[in-house]
């Protein structure tokens, strides 16, 4: 039977409201039990609330319903080619063909996933000559893309990082970070990051906030192509942050979902991760291959813990397995096998680097065309941030009312915060986009 958990003295209105809600629930459960015993046909789930609609999904739903031939979906967080179509990388197709020819079996992977994948994954992030990899003092496991990696990491931190319950996210951060860490039992806090006045990095604010973070708290950093703002620190700013974070003795958790995709250069995009390690941070790292290999639905990711030494890495690995087994037992093969083939086959790896650069370059080009078209339209606003921001997303600086107009009058769909996915922009529609945005901002 449902038990009341109200053992504390209820002083706040919120607590009283909760108390009443629980009482009501108990009453309705009692009623339900009476009805059940009388054979009334009611459900276990009568009290289950309808979950709130996903804000981003809502954008796509509305877009689908729109009949305007000029409509644009700028909510989608997936790369599109210049025809607006999903893009399967050529190196992926080649890898798939190679794999198919081998006629491999489908036996369970180990809990930690495909070993050749995990190894290549860590080498990609850290650089193959990294001291950490050479010494063996880290563990990398295959995960269910970036989300799965963050979830395992959050669970690990929650279970084993007893020094603190606090996770600090940049303001703003990817929407899913908060519920993931919260569900894992952590408390969410924030540090300043985005400056709406400049549509850029609030470096001063970030340093100020970070300097106040209690020791041993977890701090989440976006390695590159910050989602949703597209605003990244410059190398010298990263260096200062690394030093300050070291001083504050914080546990660093990097989220790297766009390596290669941000600047077009995988080493450049991983620079912050590698520099932090060099500065002595034993980091946690989540990687995703959804975007940079276009393997979205195959769910390819990695989770890395940099440890003190080999022995600690072994202990940590054993505990990660214990965490994973009751969630999904072991990870899916297909995507990891594709990624591993690409990373471990020199010609495919070379081809991948070119393709990733092409995707990044197309995004950069669209940013430039967007700004030049705005200028052509006669916009006098400062749109510098559009080309300064990096990665798939752009925080336009548009206000909710302006976003509303874009949707209603021009059938251009984006999230209320003014975030657009530049991946949805093509050379065919960038003019229309600039025209519409100029119309609502002039």
């Amino acid at each position: 039977m449902a038990l009341l958990k109200s053992t504390k003295i209820l002083t706040s209105v919120g607590a009283q409201a909760h108390f009443l809600a629980v009482l009501q629930l108990r009453a309705s459960w009692s009623l339900r039990n009476v009805q059940m015993s009388r054979g009334f046909s009611i459900s276990w789930w009568t009290e289950v609330q309808m979950g709130p609609p996903d804000p981003i999904l809502g954008v796509t739903e509305a877009f689908k319903r729109d009949t305007n031939p000029k409509k644009m979906n700028l909510g989608v967080g997936a790369y599109r080619d210049d025809q607006g179509k999903p893009f399967v990388l050529s190196c992926v197709r080649k890898a798939e063909a190679q794999i198919a020819a081998k006629k491999l079996d489908k036996e369970y992977l180990p809990i930690g996933g495909l070993a050749e994948f995990s190894k290549a994954c860590s080498q990609l992030a850290l650089g193959p000559d990294n001291e950490v990899l050479k010494s063996g003092r880290s563990i990398t496991i295959q995960t269910i893309s970036g989300t799965g990696s963050l979830r395992v990491g959050a669970n690990f931190v929650s279970r084993f990082h007893n020094a603190s319950r606090d996770v600090y996210l940049p303001k703003p951060s990817w929407g899913n970070h908060t519920p993931i860490f919260r569900d894992a039992g952590m408390q969410l806090k924030a540090y300043s990051y985005y400056d709406p006045k400049t549509c850029g990095f609030d470096f001063k604010g970030a340093l100020h906030d970070i300097s106040k973070i209690p020791e041993k708290s977890v701090i989440v950093l976006h390695a590159c192509a910050h989602n949703p703002t597209g605003v990244d620190p410059r190398p010298e700013q990263w260096k200062e942050m690394a030093a300050l974070i070291k001083k504050r003795n914080l546990l660093v958790f990097f989220d790297m979902a766009y390596q290669g995709f941000a600047s077009g250069d995988i080493d450049r995009d991983a620079w912050a991760v590698r520099d932090f390690i060099e500065q002595g941070h034993n980091i946690l790292l989540s990687q995703s291959f959804a975007k940079n290999m276009g393997l979205y639905g195959e769910r390819v990711g990695g989770f890395t813990v940099v440890c003190k030494d080999v022995e600690e890495a072994k202990r940590v690995e054993s505990q990660l397995k214990i965490l994973i087994r009751p969630i999904y037992s072991n990870p899916p093969m297909n995507g990891a096998r594709i990624a591993s083939t690409i990373l471990n086959t020199p010609e495919l790896y070379k081809e991948w680097l070119v393709e990733v650069k092409d995707m990044a370059d197309r995004i950069i080009t669209m940013r430039e065309m967007f700004v030049s078209n705005l200028k052509k339209e006669g916009s006098t606003h400062n749109w510098q941030h559009v080309t300064e921001q990096i990665g798939m997303f752009c925080f336009t600086g548009l206000k909710p009312e302006q976003v509303e107009r874009l949707i209603k009058e021009f059938s251009i769909y984006m999230t209320k915060d003014g975030r657009i996915s530049v991946a949805g922009v093509t050379s065919a529609n960038v003019g229309y986009l600039a025209h519409a945005i100029h119309a609502v901002t002039k």
Partner: protein
């Protein structure tokens, strides 16, 4: 430098995987792996179903397909066709639009999402004290799935009668009766793991009666549909019976074994609710849980299964492949029993052919198991569970003789 992970203890390895690791390292030419639950051919090789190879090629050749994200709840045609497999094509519940599903990562993933949902929304909200009953014994991961989902009270229900090597129905029914109302019961739909012992239809009816009367929640774990008897409908009888009696229930389906898609993590959580409105609210909350666990499920395996189930010739071929596997297991059961009887091995061995599915609870004790592993290089679980798929016409004599030795020389 002090490490934040300085206090992290070394965790014990998961037993069944350690067994396989030890087997791999063993150099003895006569070694036999009767541990982990995966099908093997008579050449002791993994078997990729012919229909799977066929559909894989279809997918690979179809360049209109891409690797875009699936919806959070999974591939719609996979979800609906999988639920049909469990509940039957003509299921009245499906016709009433009160059946839904969540594509999950294998059977484990389906149990996980179901468990997380129940902890949040069943028997009040966040009622972690709701008792969860799992069979004694059960698949070793059941306990961890529910406790990690937050349930604090996980209890065994009597199931295996070691003395008579069969179902302890009286004990089972007794535990159902004494369970607090609304307790959750994890039921094996067929081919009970690890005992291979299933209730008869009549026994299922008795179980369902008590569960209905006491408002106990039925959470079916269906990892072997088709694999147990060779017949999909026969193996789904219990689940369908419960649905026909008006239960709202969950059924965690795995396609690891019956499709041989172990490493693609293909599972489905079928949800049967009283009506469509309740169903929709349940699915909306499950979507939230999925989003913070893996966001959306993997594409490859679900595509494969959906194409197979939805294409008549492929569906027929699949059923045939499944029967091939089930038949080989039945043959090995029959032969093992014959050989033990012929050897005059003490004890009764009827349970080997009475039990069903991939596993057999031999009744061997831990010392006898240790003897088999260490002296005979025959790897099986400490519980005495053997995977019948590890037996072949080539090794069955060696295994039978070794069991005979273990039983007669080790007490």
């Amino acid at each position: 430098i002090m490490s934040i992970f300085g206090e992290v203890p070394q965790a014990a390895p998961v037993a069944v995987f350690k067994l396989t690791a030890d087997f791999r390292e063993d150099q003895n030419p006569r070694k036999v792996n009767l541990g982990v639950g995966a099908y093997r051919t008579d050449e002791c090789q993994p078997w990729v179903l012919p229909v799977v190879r066929k559909v894989e090629k279809m997918i690979a050749d179809d360049h209109s397909l891409n690797h875009e994200y699936l919806p959070i709840l999974g591939l719609p045609e996979f979800r609906s066709s999988s639920s049909k497999i469990a509940l039957g094509e003509d299921s009245p519940a499906i016709k009433d639009n009160r059946v839904g599903a969540v594509q999950c990562l294998g059977g484990t993933g389906a149990l996980k999402i179901g468990a997380e949902f129940l902890r949040r929304w069943y028997n009040g909200t966040d009622n972690t004290k709701t008792p969860v009953y799992v069979s004694a014994p059960t698949w070793e991961n059941h306990n961890a799935v529910f406790s990690n989902a937050g349930f604090e009270d996980i209890r065994p229900y009597k199931y295996w009668d070691a003395g008579k090597r069969g179902l302890d129905l009286e004990g089972f029914l007794g535990d159902l009766e004494s369970a607090p109302d609304h307790s959750i019961f994890v039921l094996h739909a067929c081919a009970h793991n690890p005992t291979g012992t299933d209730p008869t239809q009549d026994q299922w009816k008795q179980i369902a009666d008590v569960m209905m009367r006491k408002s106990l929640f039925a959470f079916f774990d269906s990892a072997y549909q088709g694999f147990a008897s060779g017949n999909l409908d026969k193996d789904a009888w219990a689940v369908r019976y419960f649905v026909s009696q008006g239960f709202e229930l969950f059924c965690a389906q795995s396609f690891s074994k019956n499709f041989g898609l172990y490493n693609e993590r293909v599972g489905n959580l079928t949800v049967v609710a009283k009506d469509q409105d309740n169903l929709n609210r349940v699915l909306s909350q499950m979507e939230k849980i999925v989003r913070i666990t893996w966001s959306n499920p993997p594409s490859q395996g679900a595509r494969l299964v959906a194409i197979t189930l939805n294409t008549p010739e492929l569906f027929a071929e699949w059923k045939d492949n499944v029967k091939t596997m089930a038949d080989r297991v039945l043959l090995m059961r029959a032969q093992l029993k014959e050989k033990l009887k012929a050897l005059g091995t003490p004890g009764t061995w009827e349970h080997i052919t009475e039990q069903i599915g991939m596993f057999s609870f031999t009744g061997l004790n831990p010392k006898q198991v240790e003897y088999l592993v260490k002296e005979k290089h025959i790897y099986l679980m400490a519980s005495g569970r053997i995977n019948m798929c590890g037996l072949t016409t080539k090794n069955i004599d060696y295994v039978a003789e070794s069991i005979h030795e273990a039983v007669t020389t080790v007490q």
